[in-house]
Structure formats: structure tokens, C-alpha cells
């Protein structure tokens, strides 16, 4: 059984150098996504490209919650929106966020295999996986099956994921993303 009882995904966060900006639990509808994207836009980045990486990652993962969370609510238009949790903060010159949504325990294995596959591939192989997956028939809501692959490509790191048990039917799927606001130090520094 892969889901566990302790929330370890944030263990690396040293309290002394992190600043909590916001947490949220509720529907991941478009208004919420817009609200938090605008907040992220306002941090100071070395370049718009870096800002974009953060926003793009966030929108992709937040949309995933909206579509795939096992915990759903109706909204105004009778549309069904997924519920999840978000943590947003700063760590030194990085921005981090953590997104969690419930998944059925019966679906955990498929999800875990998908993430393990992504984490086992190098960049070229990831791009090939993306190209192949994009050719598949669209998922519900027009999903392209490549969101998690994009996160791995944008962050240029393995997906940082934990499964956290809720009860016998559900667990949380939690993903952690950290991106720098600053460009990497160049050779002449």
C-alpha cells in the first residue's frame, strides 16, 4: 500500500528560511486559479520567462485538481469542479507551492506508475513520451494527458510527490513544485 500516514513531502522546508504566504482549501475553479495566478504574478522575478514557468506549472496542476479530484462540488452553471488544497510560500529566492487533491485508492496504482515512469526518464525521453501521449484521444475536458510530463519538463526535476492516506477509499495525491525567481548563477560570477 503506497499511501502513508505522515506528511513528509514538506520535510525539506526549513522553517527558518520559508515564508508562508497562503493556504487554501476548497474548489479549484477558474476564479480560484485566477486569484492565485495573479498573486504569483506579483513576485519579483529576474525575467518574465521565470514568472511564466511558475504560472504555467500552477495553472496546469490546479486544472488537474479541478478535473480529476475525487472530491467534487457543483458550481453556478451546474459544472462540477474538483476540490483540493494549496500551500504557497517563498523559500529564499524560490517560490514553492504544494497542491493536494483526493484520489480513489483504487486509482492510486495507475497514478503511481505514471509518475514513476515520468521520473525514470531523461529529458529527451520525456519529450518523446509527451509527443506520443499528445497523439492519444483527448481525455474528459479536452485533457491532453501530458500535464505531469510538462511539470517535469518545466521544473527540469523529477516530480516531487507523496500519497497521504485519508481512509480506506481515498488518499491525497500531493505534488510539490519549487521554482527560482532568479536566474542560475552564470560562469562569470
Amino acid at each position: 500500500m503506497i499511501s502513508i500516514d505522515k506528511l513528509e513531502i514538506l520535510n525539506e522546508l526549513d522553517v527558518s528560511n520559508t515564508q508562508l504566504l497562503s493556504t487554501y482549501e476548497g474548489m479549484f475553479d477558474n476564479e480560484m486559479i485566477g486569484f492565485f495566478s495573479r498573486r504569483m504574478v506579483n513576485f519579483s522575478y529576474d525575467s518574465p520567462g521565470l514568472q511564466k514557468k511558475l504560472i504555467v506549472s500552477f495553472i496546469e496542476l490546479a486544472q488537474n485538481v479541478g478535473y480529476y479530484s475525487a472530491d467534487k462540488q457543483n458550481d453556478f452553471n451546474g459544472k462540477i469542479v474538483g476540490v483540493g488544497a494549496l500551500l504557497l510560500g517563498l523559500r529564499d529566492s524560490n517560490v514553492f507551492f504544494c497542491i493536494a487533491n483526493k484520489v480513489l485508492n483504487s486509482e492510486l496504482n495507475v497514478l503511481q506508475r505514471k509518475c514513476e515512469l515520468i521520473n525514470s526518464l531523461n529529458r529527451e525521453q520525456l519529450r518523446e513520451l509527451k509527443r506520443n501521449n499528445r497523439n492519444l484521444i483527448p481525455g474528459t475536458n479536452g485533457g491532453a494527458h501530458i500535464g505531469l510530463i510538462m511539470i517535469a519538463l518545466i521544473t527540469n526535476k523529477p516530480l516531487h510527490i507523496q500519497y497521504f492516506k485519508v481512509d480506506d477509499t481515498m488518499s491525497y495525491f500531493i505534488i510539490y513544485v519549487e521554482l527560482s525567481k532568479k536566474r542560475a548563477a552564470t560562469d562569470n560570477e
Partner: protein
């Protein structure tokens, strides 16, 4: 054949500007694409292209100036490109230009994505920085 013009907007969703001109054969899609119902938005564009390829059968110049598109949109972009490829394979004349802002830094992933479109579709896409684009572009 009617033209398509959709004025883009950046609100809670991001709608791209779409300008498909049947007379000039120049089709442009620019701005950002992050939509409430992606397939519903792109379907009329697919239908238009289909009509252009089967009825008008003229040369087409396809210009993409998208600064952001989510993964659902990327799927629709690939679908449009595949239509262009099929047209090319059947003898149609196709020019595809992808424009990017070369003043922007940290856009390696974006350029990778265009390369991936090329690999996925087998099309020859011209990757053009804005600074080198002609006035007419």
C-alpha cells in the same frame, strides 16, 4: 468562404486572437490560449480549415504567435498542424511560421515545444524571432 475573426481577451480565461482570411490565405492565431472549453473553441477553426482545404484548395500561410497555451490547447494546436500536414501530403502548399519573443529569457522549454510540434507532425515549421520578423508579419 467566410473569414474567421475572434478578438482575444485576457480575463479569467485567456482567449487567443484568431484571424483566418480565406481571400489572402493567411491564418493567424496569437495571444494566449487557456479556455473553459478548449475543443468547443477550436472546432470551428478545424471546420474552417477543412473547408479551405477541400473547397478553395489554395496556398495557406499559417502564423502562430502564441505566448502561452495550456496542455489542452497544445493538443488542439497539434490537431490543426496535422490537418495542415495532411493537406500538404495531398499536394497543398503550406507555409507555417512560429513566432517567438527573442528578447525574453528562459524560454528554452517553449522552443523545445515547437521542436516537438515539428517532430510530432513532420511539418517544416519556420521558427522566427520577432526581432527578425518582417513588418508584414
Amino acid at each position: 468562404m467566410k473569414n474567421i475573426y475572434i478578438k482575444g481577451s485576457h480575463d479569467s480565461y485567456f482567449i487567443p486572437t484568431v484571424d483566418f482570411n480565406a481571400d489572402t490565405g493567411v491564418c493567424e492565431i496569437s495571444g494566449e490560449s487557456y479556455l473553459e472549453e478548449t475543443i468547443k473553441f477550436y472546432n470551428p477553426l478545424f471546420e474552417w480549415l477543412n473547408e479551405y482545404f477541400t473547397v478553395l484548395k489554395k496556398e495557406i500561410t499559417f502564423k502562430i504567435k502564441l505566448t502561452y497555451f495550456n496542455t489542452s490547447s497544445s493538443k488542439c494546436i497539434v490537431d490543426m498542424l496535422n490537418m495542415l500536414k495532411a493537406y500538404e501530403n495531398s499536394g497543398g502548399k503550406v507555409v507555417i511560421n512560429w513566432y517567438y519573443d527573442d528578447n525574453e529569457e528562459d524560454i528554452e522549454e517553449e522552443l523545445d515545444e515547437v521542436e516537438d510540434f515539428i517532430l510530432e507532425t513532420g511539418l517544416n515549421i519556420n521558427i522566427i524571432p520577432f526581432s527578425k520578423a518582417n513588418k508584414a508579419d
